[in-house]
């Protein structure tokens, strides 16, 4: 099996206290249908839980769905914990209702692309595939 045959492993994470995870489930199944191995851990994940799962599962990507408005704390916090765990090569991406200025600020901190509501899941899939392919060239 060559490196490029490997499955892309993605943790779909739903942090925060907001009460439903329909969106995260839709994304998780779309990723599965795209051939990814998706780890889904359910609602109410703390950044510590997310990073611990990301490390143990050795995922390539953490995709976080943040609708609570807490994106400016959650994304940097998860990124920081990933880095501290030595998992700085993991792509942290996600989606939510995130103003453009915030997107720029977060991207400047090493966080990957962030998708707004109503983005087609195919865009996120294409983005992850491209990232994964370019990563292997490094």
């Amino acid at each position: 099996m060559t490196e490029s045959d490997q499955k892309i492993r993605v943790l779909v994470a739903k942090p925060g206290l907001d009460g439903h995870d329909r969106g995260a489930k839709v994304i998780a199944s779309a990723f599965r249908d795209a051939g990814f191995e998706v780890i889904y851990t359910g609602l109410h994940q703390t950044p510590e839980m997310i990073v611990s799962a990301a490390v143990q599962e050795d995922v390539d990507v953490v995709a976080m769905s943040v609708l609570s408005g807490a994106h400016m704390t959650l994304f940097p916090r998860v990124k920081k914990l990933l880095d501290e765990a030595g998992a700085d090569d993991v792509l942290l991406t996600g989606g939510g209702i995130i103003p453009e200025d915030d997107v720029a600020t977060l991207e400047a901190q090493g966080i990957g692309r962030l998708f707004g509501p109503g983005t087609a899941t195919t865009d996120a899939i294409a983005y992850i595939r491209e990232w994964y392919a370019s990563r292997e060239l490094v």
Partner: protein
């Protein structure tokens, strides 16, 4: 193939250091190395396994949604209270359509997520049948080498005959629920043969007692003592699922047989979990005292060796240019009516057995 610690690459030597230093990320990356069978994975396994095994391995199998993950979480919590380090491997199916997988067993284990004494890994079957992924046993070995006293393994649970678990675990817990039908269905699914302990989970639901009685009767029927009070003789027939039939090496199953307990649990409340823990301890004691543990370990080792030989033979065969060449010519022969699949296979096997150079 020449496995050796000396063959480890620079990267794998660094990984080994971190692995031995107890870094969870190193265990996680070693698991990926093995799961993807990347270059050098056998040298890595050979190096870390050289210290021998000490982990107690417990397998959980049963129909989808029976509560396997919930019970695993309950047991893990209990073992943590006893200060054991616990590894968990949970297998879910790969979609045959997309090759992707939705691995959701962690949902039931969230309260364990940040305990540094617990390590949970989800695996997709990636086309393997038998209830485990092709490398699950090797992943358990890695957890063993990493230092976990206890490894809990959850099979895929899609109703295949999940025999692989008997080769991976010392104790197999079969989890059923009132909804999973009657004892006949458990018998048809081959679950009577693999259970060391039966659990009727979701005992809070109607029908649990009925199923419990049926399973107890079925166990008696199967062991041929339905009409007497003689203790059931339980011989888990591990040899049947091994590729190479165990013969002279395997001592006969011990006389004082194991009586398969049938217990009720409610994973959500934890009811019945202490009894399940006790049954696992009893089974352990029986394994040790009857000599069955030694027998199972030996059979397990045999299965592992033959797995590796099969895998290497397969790899060597199809990587050989000579074989590729004979295949191509053989296909021409078949097309033109000069050969059959059997004659072509014969020339390929001859080529393989003849050119036994350095095996890599």
């Amino acid at each position: 193939m020449h496995v050796s610690e000396n063959r480890l690459s620079v990267t794998h030597t660094r990984l080994l250091d971190q692995f031995r230093g107890g870094k969870p990320l190193a265990l996680a990356r070693a698991i990926s190395l093995v799961e993807n069978q990347r270059e050098g994975f056998q040298d890595f396994l050979h190096t870390v396994l050289a210290t021998g095994s000490r982990t107690r391995r417990i397998g959980f199998t049963g129909p989808p949604g029976a509560g396997k993950s919930s019970l695993v979480a309950e047991l893990a919590r209990a073992y943590r209270q006893a200060d054991e380090h616990v590894g968990i491997v949970a297998v879910d199916p790969t979609s045959p359509y997309s090759g992707g997988a939705l691995l959701g067993d962690r949902i039931r284990m969230n309260e364990l997520a940040t305990d540094p004494g617990i390590f949970i890994r989800s695996m997709a079957t990636r086309g393997s049948l038998g209830g485990l992924a092709a490398t699950t046993k090797e992943v358990i070995d890695l957890m063993d080498a990493f230092g976990f006293e206890r490894v809990l393994v959850e099979t895929v649970g899609v109703g295949q005959t999940e025999l692989e678990i008997t080769a991976a675990a010392d104790t197999v817990v079969v989890v059923l629920v009132p909804e999973s039908g009657d004892a006949i269905q458990a018998m048809k699914a081959g679950l009577m043969e693999i259970a060391d302990v039966f659990v009727i989970n979701k005992a809070d639901r109607p029908g649990a007692d009925r199923l419990l009685r049926e399973i107890r009767q079925a166990i008696h029927l199967r062991t041929g003592h339905a009409l007497s009070d003689v203790p059931a003789h339980h011989g888990v027939d591990l040899s049947r699922m091994m590729k190479k039939e165990a013969t002279e090496d395997a001592p006969a199953p011990h006389e004082g047989g194991w009586q398969i307990p049938v217990l009720k649990t409610t994973a959500q409340t934890g009811e019945g979990v202490p009894e399940l823990l006790a049954a696992i301890v009893d089974h352990r004691t029986w394994l040790e005292e009857s000599g069955e543990l030694v027998r199972r370990r030996r059979l397990r080792a045999r299965g592992r060796v033959s797995d590796v030989v099969d895998r290497e033979l397969h790899r060597l065969a199809w990587a050989s240019p000579e074989v590729q060449d004979r295949m191509a010519r053989g296909l021409d022969d078949i097309q033109e009516g000069r050969g059959t699949p059997y004659s072509v296979a014969d020339t390929i096997l001859r080529a393989l057995l003849k050119d036994r150079g350095p095996l890599r």
